[in-house]
Symmetry: C2
Subunit: 320 residues, 2 copies
């Protein structure tokens, strides 16, 4: 079975670990969000790609969900001692090596997709990880700061430095319109048996991937079940601050509203948590097959069960 997954960072990576446990024989291609990539200290940092790679490759810091295990922060301490910022982005020493290798390869002329493949040669994540695009796409967030200043800030600045403490007025994936899907992305979608949206952020993770011209269309036209899992449980994000960015695109932070946001033109099936069982009817009324199952990724077993439910719903869609 060929499965394509559109993944953001922590939520997507943890779901993928469950999917691999649930379907160990499946051929999984992950289309990774690069909209939150950032250049720091002259280095190209791809937080979502790395979170997937480290999580599936066994190098992740399990507690925080991002960054490397057994990490130290001496490079960052010293950079800050030189007065070189930012100091709010937690780049560890082991993590730095990934960015150094990536940057060196990019400067040598390799596209990000080839670089990602080379990095994965080491990590062996057990999936094919492809960035959504080799072109630079950078999600910016329009905000009004506390002093009244209106600014567009890099998504990482909004998420990490400001901790989404001010409302996001608009989310703009800068460069998306001019970007092209990376080599292999459209082919993977066209050849998929199932396409999954993990409980990643529907705006700045899955939404950014869908903003790359051609990807949304390819998914809609693939003619295979497209099933998503709600990142919102009981009217709050399971993790992260998805509600903040949903508000910016005028979507309420509920499982049903997110499904409607994707829409029946794209999504065939939707899993909501059992606490949101009351919303199943609303989702189905929108033309999307819906089931209520436990959606808390508390451990690998629970996450694998979620993946099995998603695949079962895909089969239901296929047979319908």
């Amino acid at each position: 079975m060929r499965i394509v997954v559109l993944a953001g960072g922590i939520g997507g990576a943890r779901f993928l670990r469950g999917l691999k446990a649930a379907a160990p024989e499946a051929d999984v291609t992950v289309i990774g969000n690069t909209g939150d990539d950032i250049h720091l200290f002259g280095l190209k940092v791809c937080p979502d790609l790395d979170t997937v790679m480290y999580t599936l490759g066994g190098g992740i810091n399990e507690e925080q969900g991002w960054g490397r295990a057994d990490e130290t922060f001496h490079v960052k301490e010293e950079l800050n001692a030189y007065g070189v910022g930012p100091d709010w982005f937690g780049l560890g020493d082991r993590d730095f090596a990934t960015h150094i290798v990536r940057t060196q390869m990019l400067e040598a002329g390799y596209p990000l997709s080839a670089v990602t493949e080379a990095l994965c040669d080491r990590w062996k994540p057990g999936v094919r990880l492809i960035p959504m695009s080799d072109d630079r796409v950078e999600t910016h967030v329009a905000v009004t700061l506390e002093d009244g200043e209106r600014r567009a800030v890099h998504f990482q600045e909004y998420w990490v430095r400001l901790r989404a403490s001010v409302p996001a007025e608009a989310i703009v994936p800068v460069g998306a319109e001019q970007s092209k899907p990376a080599p292999g992305v459209l082919e993977a979608i066209a050849g998929a048996d199932v396409i999954l949206f993990p409980p990643s952020n529907p705006v700045v993770s899955v939404g950014t991937i869908l903003a790359v011209p051609g990807i949304r269309e390819a998914i809609a036209e693939a003619g295979v079940p497209v099933v998503g899992l709600s990142p919102i449980v009981g009217d709050a994000p399971v993790r992260g601050m998805a509600d903040k960015v949903l508000a910016a695109v005028g979507v309420e932070a509920t499982a049903a509203a997110v499904a409607e946001h994707y829409g029946s033109g794209l999504l065939d099936g939707w899993l909501v948590d059992t606490v949101d069982a009351g919303t199943v009817e609303r989702v189905e009324a929108a033309g999307i097959r819906c089931r209520a199952v436990p959606l808390m990724m508390t451990d690998l077993d629970a996450t694998a069960a979620m993946a099995r439910e998603a695949l079962a719903l895909a089969e239901e869609v296929r047979e319908a």
Copy 2:
């Protein structure tokens, strides 16, 4: 008193610490060797400049004489885990930050001299540290490897990886002929009261600085005492492998031969170690005023005493 010092790495840096103790009120300009600079992992590494900066700024690993104190090596471990080399060059995590800042500034268009000044803003070495040139000069060493292959290797590869285990057949400061002294170098020399050659390597440290067109001439024409300290004591280098590279330029590894190599056209005074007192006559016969004093930099006091002897010899030269 304005003192100009031509410095290599460890020997030069330690001497400078003694000089600062001996002449705390002096205005010291250090012209640093950049011929052993190397690009590693896409980063510009300037070992000699950093050794001077860290040593005088209090950040040096005192035992090994280079690199940072309290260092870890996680970035390098990870780079090597990615299969990205070299693995023979000991870049620590704290040290990496310096190279990241430097590379970022160079890529932003700042010349190395401005970058060095910016890095020194943090370290406050108490001297003005100027690279010999803003242009790329890279010392290469012609060798015949054990398998008979003839190759030109970067000086760092010869020194660190091969540990000078094969004879150096030629030393070539690639790019030196086309290089220009960095801003401030010729001005510092022209305005100096004394010019000192610390017990640095006469070929690949001081020799490389002198290979930048204009520097040797400026020193010869400055009309002020030029005094050096022998890096060879008792027919062996005090530290490092200066004998290996002296052989490549046809100079015997003795205190007197090094003085003759610099020559009376450049050098006015020369300090040899007391064990080499028998060679004073030979040096003076070459037209260079010579004294035999203890030249082992065993501690700060001993090093400060050496600096005082050098300054005293400079006064002798001036009054002669």
